[in-house]
Every structure is written in C-alpha cells, then in structure tokens.
Homo-oligomer: 236 residues x 2
Amino acid sequence: MSQSPWQPISPPKPPRPAKAPLTRERIVDAAMRLIVEHGYDAVSMRKIAQELGTGPASLYAHVANKGELDQLLVDRAAQQMKLSDEPDPANWQEQVKDYMREMLRVMRANPGVARAAIGQVPLVEHAMLSTEKLLAILKAGRLPDQAAAWAADLLPLYVTAVSFEETVQNASNWTPADVERFVGEMRTFFADLPADRFPVTVALATALTAGAGGDERFEFGIQVITAGLASLAEPS
Amino acid sequence: MSQSPWQPISPPKPPRPAKAPLTRERIVDAAMRLIVEHGYDAVSMRKIAQELGTGPASLYAHVANKGELDQLLVDRAAQQMKLSDEPDPANWQEQVKDYMREMLRVMRANPGVARAAIGQVPLVEHAMLSTEKLLAILKAGRLPDQAAAWAADLLPLYVTAVSFEETVQNASNWTPADVERFVGEMRTFFADLPADRFPVTVALATALTAGAGGDERFEFGIQVITAGLASLAEPS
DNA sequence: ACCTGAACACCGTTCAAGT
DNA sequence: ACCTGAACACCGTTCAAGT
C-alpha cells in the first residue's frame, strides 16, 4: 500500500486516456467505414462497437438507436453532395437532372446508404439543405408550389430506389463478367417463355435486359420524370 | 413389450396424421397472414414455424430461404391484381395509371409486401404476367421497345417505393389523429426553420406536408411519369 | 422423403453496476 | 457523465438423428 520510492506510480492524471473517448462523430465514422466496405447488412451496433474496441451498450450513450444512426449516415452522405449552381430559370430541367445525377453518384460512392435512407423523410441538416436547393431549382422552373413540393419528394425517391436496387444486385462482389453472365441468362429466360402467355415479354427480351449496370436506364428515368414535370410548369 | 389384451395399441395406420402435412402452400399462407396482420418485421422463419406448430428447420424442406419466401409473397400479392382491360391505343395513358392504382391497392391490402418486393426483379409467374400486361399497354401507346422496357421497370419501382414509404410510416398502428398531429408538427418544424438558410422550405411548409396520407401525392406522381412517357411516344 | 431438436453464429436493446 | 458486462428476447440456417 505504501508508495514505492523507486518510481512514482499511478501518476494522478495521465495526459490522455489510452482510448480516444467515444463520440457521436467516431461512431458515425466507424459505421460509415463498415457500410462502404461491407454493405448495409454488415452495419450492426455490435460490429460498430467491436470496430471501436468496446461493447454495444456503450454506443447508446451517444446514439438513441439504430434508426437514428441510419439518419446520421444519410446526413454524412448528403454532406458529400456538390451543389454549387445558382438556380437558373432558363436551364432548370438540366439542373434537376444534374441534381439527380449527383445524388446517385454520392449514393454509389456510399453503398448501403440508400438502404438506410429509403422510406425515411430526411429531417437531418445536410439532407434538408440539399432539398432546399432542389426546391429552389423547381421554383425557378415555374412549378406551382404543390407540384414543386411533391416533386421534391418524387425525385429523391426515384434516385434512392434505383441505388437501393443496385445495392441489392451488387451484393457480395460480382465482377463485370458475373453481371454479364447473369444478364445473358435473364435474356434467355425471357426469350424462352411461352409466347402465347408472354408475347410482349418474349418480343422485348433484349430491351428488358439492356442497360442493367450502366447509366442509360437511369438517364431514361430522369428524362421521363423531368419531361413530366415540365408539362406542369406555369407559362412564363 | 407384449401387446396389451385390453385394447389395441398403436393402430398400424391412423387414417390421417393429426397434423396436416407441411406444404409450400401452407407456409406461404401462414407468412401472408403474419405479414398482413403484423407487418414485414413480424415475418420470420421462426414465427411462421410457430404458427404452423413446428420448428424453423422444418420449413427448409419446402422453401430454400427467406429470400425465396419473399418472392413467393410477392407472387401471392401479384395474383390479386385485377387487370382485365384489353390494351387500348386511344386510352393507354389512363390504362397505365389504372395499372399503377391497382398495384398500389393490392400493396396496401398486403402491407409489408412492398418491403419484400423492393429491389428484387420479380421473376415469379404472376408478377411476370402482370408485367406482360403493362408492357402490352405501353406498346399500344406506341412507345419504342427500349422505352417500354425501361418504363415497365420504372413504373412498378415507383409504386413499390410509395407503398414501402407508407408501410414504414404506418408502422405500429397510428390513428388518423396521430398522423394529423405528426403532419402538423412537421409543418411547424419546416415553417420555423431559419429563413436565411431555408427560404424555399419555409415558404412551402404547407405544400411540403400536404397529402401525406391520401392519394393526391400518388396521383401527382403517376401523372408526372405518364406525361413524361407520352412525350416519348412515336407519332402514329 | 420429410420432419425434428439442438446448436451455431448472430441481432438490438436494457439495466444494474462500476468509475 | 460516461462506460461496461451480462442478460433478455430474438434472428436465419445447418446438421445429425429420427421416422
């Protein structure tokens, strides 16, 4: 119990604790690392805790639950969106498309975030700031208030759904060759269906399996939606 | 070991086993009952087994895994779609909308199915038959092959995403009064945001929270997409 | 061939106890 | 105030053993 004369023991205040203290920031960092590297299903409270060298219970001092963590991941991703353009009434349709392209780019860069985002109204700061930008573009395009508001719901819904689909498809790690083989099998499957019950499906077998991996299908989607919105714009 | 003289024991072949035998059909029945009554998260292999008075391992003789079961649930729902109309070139836009309305009706009648369907290409019989009908309508509308094929992907994607959103929102069992209170809170939240950073959001607070529960928002979505498709139709 | 119990390797969340 | 170990009530799936 007596202090050793040889060396001072247990210095009263070690300059810093060996472990960095747990923070909301560090928890989201770890979660983001896990989701990007191993997909949405790899993100569990337990895995995050393990990544941080602690137990799952420790996280609950900083994050209410898994749902809140999902929201924080969406916020992180939203922060990465580059949206510098001023709304331009003469160019609003192209700006809407660029917004959607940028959103898809960020979601692809953070696979699994789409899964965390889907079905949630994003009430976190950076997600709301990007929605604000989108609304400004839509109003510059002379859409009525109600159309602009619902469009600001429809557009991200579409991008998120597309990204989600890609995430599910790309689960595990398929090579481009695997994808091509799978698409080929699907085309054969469609083409070989009984033509009396599936006449159009058989006839369109090639078209139905085109543009699976690339951007053409997405470009088609944003073209359709943007053109539909344009038909609702008020005359200037 | 000797047989009792008092009564015949263990009659060699009881006319029928006490329990009805497990079948794929009965498993999907039980799963459908669970998903409709308690939502997607209530459907687990263990709960289904319990519902059928057996253990989870028994299901794997009839169903490969949870993913296949999800597909079977989607097929069951697709079977409920009423799609009697002949494709009518003069009326194809309204037919597309009716198709989407019918799909949403069935998904609302089977809450949780949207969650099972999202992100999966539906390669089950009845889902494919309904897709065939949709493709026929789109071709009647003189859409080019590629546009028809991608539209047959886009339209169900939108309906499924809307239904999924509703499912998440309606999780647990909110009364209409609860929904109204929540919408009111959200409107106040938007309206009270700092106007310098969120000018458009603040201005559109009412529009952004309109039509949350009802069909108006969905009607807007199908109007936009259908109008966008119409702009791609070939001249007749 | 079909069914079963038991086990494996996981989940999210809570809570009393520690510092 | 923050962190922890242990527990609670769950998951999907596998497998050797039974009939």
